[in-house]
């Protein structure tokens, strides 16, 4: 079973995720940001599923590992879809939403095929390794796509506060998660690094909840103030 600190981080994260969903319902924005809400609901569901498998079979059991990796790939897929939904919102006025969806589907298929090609040659447990590889690759694709979306937001001089802050929160989350992952590989002898990933995971729902709570759909930013180097 996880220790006291891990359980505390898990509880805090789940509370923030729930807060986001409740907040978007009370602010009447649940369907506008449906896929972001769906992602946070999926995180809560996967946490409960993982806890159930952990309590029933234990941390070393194969059943728990299967549950962990499959919920992980489902969550990454849900986050990918949430990110694409933000793309659709940014490009909605340019009538590009259909092309965005088509490109996203092709990119997802390409990532899945690439992941399959990587694991097909060398693995015995094809399904779990494929889930792990797909999850990792989709995270990387997610980071790159967030970077591109941020570029598009600056270029299009997007002013919607909520949209801008959701994209930035996603950017912070993706890059901090990647940094924590690299740190685990670099300094695995320090147990503190294993808590960085879960802590980072709490920041995304926290930032999104604050944005949803503080700003209405009509809130606007001055686009020039977002650019680090003024034009």
């Amino acid at each position: 079973m996880p220790g006291a600190l891990a359980s505390f981080i898990w509880l805090v994260g789940t509370a923030f995720e729930l807060a986001f969903v409740v907040c978007s319902i009370t602010r009447k924005s649940f369907f506008r940001y449906f896929f972001l809400n769906l992602y946070f609901l999926a995180v809560i569901a996967s946490s409960v599923t993982r806890y159930f498998f952990l309590a029933r079979f234990g941390q070393g059991a194969l059943e728990y590992r299967y549950a962990y990796f499959f919920t992980d790939v489902l969550l990454t897929l849900a986050l990918y879809v949430a990110l694409i939904s933000l793309y659709s919102l940014v490009f909605a006025e340019l009538q590009f939403a259909r092309y965005v969806r088509l490109t996203a589907t092709l990119l997802l298929l390409g990532t899945a095929l690439f992941s399959y090609a990587v694991v097909a040659q060398s693995s015995e447990r094809l399904v779990t390794t494929f889930a792990y590889e797909l999850s990792q690759n989709l995270y990387f694709v997610g980071l790159v796509l967030t970077y591109i979306l941020w570029g598009a937001i600056l270029k299009l001089r997007e002013t919607r506060t909520r949209l801008v802050q959701f994209v930035l929160a996603l950017g912070v989350y993706f890059s901090a998660y990647a940094a924590s992952y690299a740190l685990v590989n670099l300094a695995s002898k320090y147990s503190i690094v294993f808590f960085l990933g879960p802590i980072v995971s709490c920041l995304l729902p926290l930032a999104c909840t604050i944005t949803m709570w503080r700003h209405s759909e009509e809130s606007r930013l001055v686009p020039a103030q977002l650019v680090t180097v003024e034009r």
């Binding site: 506060t161 001055v222 977002l226």
Partner: protein, 134 residues
């Protein structure tokens, strides 16, 4: 090992970029807030605040009842302010254009803190008014 170091360096770089933009978006979202005469009198800050006033404004903020919705934004901007201070004392000494940029950003942090102070003063008044009604 090399891959992990590369991933770490790149992800920290993108993290910083997104964090800076996130803080700027927090500051930009409060830039349209008209400041009351009270907050100008209390802080003694003229039309354009400077980075030097930030610590004093934060001290004034601690005297007011806290609004939960401001806390995280202020913490993020406070962290941004500290990072900017480090940049100003190190890299900006060598690059003059960076010096100008950090000063402008530090002033932006102060403006954000002043807006939060203004909201807290209004919040305190509301609480006092409610207590008066009771």
């Amino acid at each position: 090992m090399i891959w992990s170091v590369t991933i770490f360096v790149l992800s920290v770089a993108t993290l910083l970029m997104f964090f800076v933009s996130y803080c700027r978006s927090l500051m930009a979202s409060s830039s349209r807030h008209p400041l009351s005469r009270e907050v100008r009198d209390v802080t003694g800050i003229p039309a354009l605040p400077s980075g030097k006033d930030f610590v004093r404004v934060v001290q004034l903020l601690q005297l007011c009842p806290e609004r939960p919705e401001d806390r995280t934004g202020l913490q993020a901007v406070g962290l941004y302010f500290k990072i900017l201070n480090v940049v100003q004392r190190s890299l900006a000494q060598m690059i003059p254009s960076l010096q100008t940029w950090t000063e402008r950003e530090l002033a932006g942090c102060t403006s954000f803190a002043v807006v939060v102070l203004d909201r807290r003063i209004a919040f305190s008044r509301e609480i006092l008014a409610q207590q008066g009604e009771i």
